[in-house]
Amino acid sequence: MTGHLRQFQLGDTETIEEVLTALTSRFPIATELEKTFRHLFFDSFDWRLYQAGMQLDEVSGRDLHHLVLRNLADDSPYETARLEGEVARFARDYPPGLLRERITEPLQMRTLLPIVEVRSRVVCLKLLDREEKTVLRLQLEENRAKPHGRAEYLPMTHLLRLLPVRGYDKYLDQVSRFLSDKVGLLPQSQPLIALSLASIGRQPMDYSSKLDFILHPEMSTDAVARVIFTTLLDTIEQNLPGTRGDLDSEFLHDLRVAVRRTRSALTQIKGVFSEAITNEYKERFAWIGQITGPTRDLDVYLLGFDEYRKSLPEQFQADLEPLHDFLVSHQKSEQQALVRKINSPHFHTLLKSWRTFLNSPSEPGSEGDHAQKPISKVARKRIYRTFRLVLEEGLAIHPHSQPEELHELRKSCKKLRYLLEFFQSLYPKEEIRPLIKTLKSLLDNLGDYQDLEVQADKLREFAHQMVEEGEVPADTLLAMGMLVDGLLKRQQEARVAFADRFACFADPAPVESYNKLFGPGKKSPKSAGAKS
């Protein structure tokens, strides 16, 4: 049965006794043995299962060790698997089956991490009908929770959960009504994972790499810049442990994106900090970009390897295996080098001094000309100017333009995208979202055009490197040649598709939107009808 969760919240132990007495005096109820379970909830660092409406629960008890994928809304299990050893961390490590099918799409390349552990002492009750048939199950749960890996359990809500038996819904309604009307229990609609997180002081979705600043038009540019930079710095720091441990490729990716956004914001939000400060940190963050690049490049090849393999005719697919080995071993050594660098005092000092700077009040003289201007004004001007630049550069591109011109356009588009994302809360959602979407689609195209060529070049480089490093089968080099050919073909397709993508961006409707939202003469963006 699906629908919402039928559970009630209990107070302290005294109420458990009271509820038991109330129930048994009113209904024919049998008590079963008391059991103890441990639930360990898993999700990716960025809550991909939760976002997909699922929870993955490792349940252990006496003679029982299961992995249960449940519906978040009503706790009903989608799939249950018996566990022999530990919970597999990547979707690809699961045996083929429905559980794997369900988690593969949301999880993609992300690893599962243990998030919160719950210990439940459960008293199982059953409501019997005249035939002494079980028509409803009730579970009184005394729960405690702790962050995974900690020793101490913290108190959490005790629950009375009603588990309907198929075909006997009327008893569920009867008992529900009795519990809320006569016993006065409060319904609790949150699933166990959310309740346990609350008790350890966390909440679901407390990490996201997406930008979601809530800004007000009157805020000073200085204040807004500090909010943006601090959030990005938080993201960098949150991803450090996962990057160090190479838990999955996306920790490093999110870290790099946050660094790139920081650098872009330093350039884009002009005149907030003094020029000396701006230039200093631009340079220092560029260093992080450099030291993390080689590992990310190899991650990208490894992530795309299956696609590479599938792009070749079947009889040549196995020839790529030595390339895979090459990528894996180089990724490992680059990763080690990366860890040494992010553990260095240099790296540590950079983040620390940046945070100190962001936390310290701005002193007169240390700030730029725009620091005290309202963000609405500065954002509008910056976005509009960058938009005009993108439009100008894009319109100048013709079928025979040099690749460099498209690369320049890509850079400008990226700047515009970051600006729109930083400041989106200043504008009506329904107006700014379509603009970001169209821009993203254009950026994807420009990204393909540039990246496919870079990948092709890099593969040739790898081929040379493999030859230098030792014996490499001729078949492998030939297969890599086929890959290069495929990449370049796709790159040309991307070039052909550019005109259409840009036309969508430069269409009168979006241009009108840009003019309306950011064009000269617009004083306060919220006055354009934004919902607060």
Partner: protein, 248 residues
């Protein structure tokens, strides 16, 4: 989804006990299992303490006007549900006869359940009729409890003739010895001879046991109250043979 018919032309051969006990073992092994009590006497429903009654009557259901899905009842055991019997099933032959594809109607009704269940056990009424033909055509395997006597042998021969005569080829025949009494000479002789004539005979015999009769007192499958009893162990072995046969 695999459909297992438990059937014999003759009554009183341990059919319902086999259906209920095998279904219990299947559910315990983690298969989402349904028992469909097709016998108007409703013995399987009784064992599960579920009223032998279908909401709205059997006719609507057989004609496909009510989804089976809505009529299913949960048993007291995980993964194990029951579609109860109904007294109107005594006229099921007539009801089936009124449908468009009378010999495949039950299969048609069960198809939508394939996402929900891994195993469906059909507890079938005795005698050869349109109901049994439906079962032959729906089932992947036909479990035939056979008491080791000459009379039972004759009814199994009749069944084989019927299946061959009606070109029912897709169902795996799985006769097995039921209610074996090792004190009886004839039982022991049949135990020896029958597999020679019918190599499809499963190896595990179910002994005649008071534990099986106690199912009526406990109103529960044997596995839930006496799993280690001789009959309990025999059903567990038989279930393994059934699964191996389905996998082959």
């Amino acid at each position: 989804m695999r459909i297992i018919g438990v059937y014999n032309i003759k009554g009183g051969v341990g059919k319902t006990a086999a259906a209920v006990n095998l279904a219990y073992l299947s559910a315990e092994a983690g298969y989402r299992t349904l028992v469909w009590d097709l016998d108007p006497q409703g013995a399987a429903s009784y064992y599960f303490r579920i009223k032998p009654r279908v909401k709205g009557g059997g006719r609507k259901m057989i004609k496909g006007k009510r989804d089976l899905d809505e009529l299913i009842k949960g048993s007291d055991f995980d993964n194990l549900d029951l579609l109860p019997a109904d007294f109107s099933y005594r006229n099921m032959d007539l009801m089936l006869g009124e449908t468009k594809g009378p010999v495949k109607q039950l299969l048609k009704l069960m198809r939508p359940l394939s996402m929900e269940y891994d195993r469906i056990f059909l507890d079938c009424p005795p005698s050869i009729s349109l109901v049994s033909e439906n079962i032959f055509r729906a089932a992947d395997a036909l479990m035939v409890p056979t008491i080791p006597t000459t009379l039972s042998l004759r009814t199994y021969e009749q069944l084989v003739e019927f299946l061959d005569g009606h070109k029912v080829m897709d169902v795996k025949r799985m006769p097995f010895f039921s209610m074996l009494d090792r004190r009886k000479k004839m039982h022991l002789e049949m135990l020896e001879d029958l597999p020679k004539a019918y190599p499809e005979m499963l190896k595990t015999p179910i002994p005649y046991a008071s534990d099986v009769e106690r199912m009526g007192f406990h109103r529960a499958p044997l596995g839930s109250f006496a799993p280690r009893s001789p009959a309990g162990l025999a059903y567990a072995e038989l279930w393994k043979e059934l699964e191996a046969g389905l996998a082959a």
